[in-house]
Symmetry: C2
Subunit: 178 residues, 2 copies
């Protein structure tokens, strides 16, 4: 199973923290890569890459402004295109079919999404038909796609590892293991 994300139309002034949350959610819930279009934002990339360096990967973030071209290329190499939109079909009714697809490109819209993206998508999917957050929508589709197994994902080459605890902060760093 290979999942990549495409975040459309990132805007430096308005979206830095939301796009960062999208990227970190993608990583934590099992995606291997995020592309973004709009404005190139090196400081957002740095934040995401620092998390990957510290907590492990592999996970990549890449600026790609020719988003429609990227989608067409991904289709050619076997990716199924899932566009998250509040107007789409109910995720819980479509997820069984989506789980049969082994390579997914999940598209997350910006402020306004052009009709081309609705047309090129294999699935236009809603995570409830209420307005909320692309971060929430992404988390839920990845959780449903991986069926909770994303909680057990092993990250490689991490420096820091958090150990679940009832009431304390327990952090293990690589140095302690030496």
């Amino acid at each position: 199973m290979e999942v990549e994300i495409l975040r459309l139309n990132h805007r430096i002034g308005r979206d830095p923290r939301i796009s960062t949350h999208v990227a970190l959610t993608a990583r934590a819930f099992g995606a291997s890569k995020i592309y973004y279009s709009g404005q190139k934002d090196s400081s957002m990339e740095d934040v995401v890459n620092k998390i990957t360096t510290n907590f492990g990967g592999p996970f990549n973030i890449k600026y790609e402004n020719e988003d429609l071209k990227l989608i067409k290329e991904k289709k050619k190499v076997g990716f199924t295109i899932v566009h998250l939109t509040v107007y789409g079909l109910n995720l819980l009714e479509e997820i069984k079919k989506i789980r049969t697809c082994k390579k997914l490109l999940i598209i997350i819209g910006g402020e306004k999404v052009e009709p081309e993206f609705y047309k090129i998508a294999d699935y236009n999917i809603s995570v409830t038909n209420q307005p909320h957050s692309e971060v929430a929508a992404l988390a839920i589709i990845l959780h449903e796609y991986f069926q909770g197994n994303e909680f057990d994902k092993k990250f490689k080459d991490f420096k820091t590892n958090i150990i679940p605890d009832k009431a304390h902060k327990v952090v293990k760093s690589k140095r302690e293991n030496l």
Copy 2:
């Protein structure tokens, strides 16, 4: 089942969109109310209230700076306190017990969370032990708590209703029904 959210330490300059996404995710995934501490932010409240007016409720947002006092009061009237933190116990291992609690107050941290909150919580819960987003964490715990039934939630007194569609934007407004 009654779920309320407490967002700690909101900062106007830094958090407006993240806190808005937290509030809208709370509403969309079945919570009935969100409290927030930190800085009072009327414009954030307005954004959330406009969504509720348009897409339905009931859902309330309320500024409450005495957050520890609020938690103690909620405990007295039967709420179970669930604090979301990357350091906590695995959600998927604890959710069955949490589902037996009929009233939840879910605490979402700000930049730094004081030890008092870890102590007063009945559950310190992690949604993966990877750093990502409070928006994602909230969506996942509500989705697991309501077991997908939140997708069928009927909102009251809405002006606008979105109808799921394979490829188009289908919006029904109350005016069309007259």
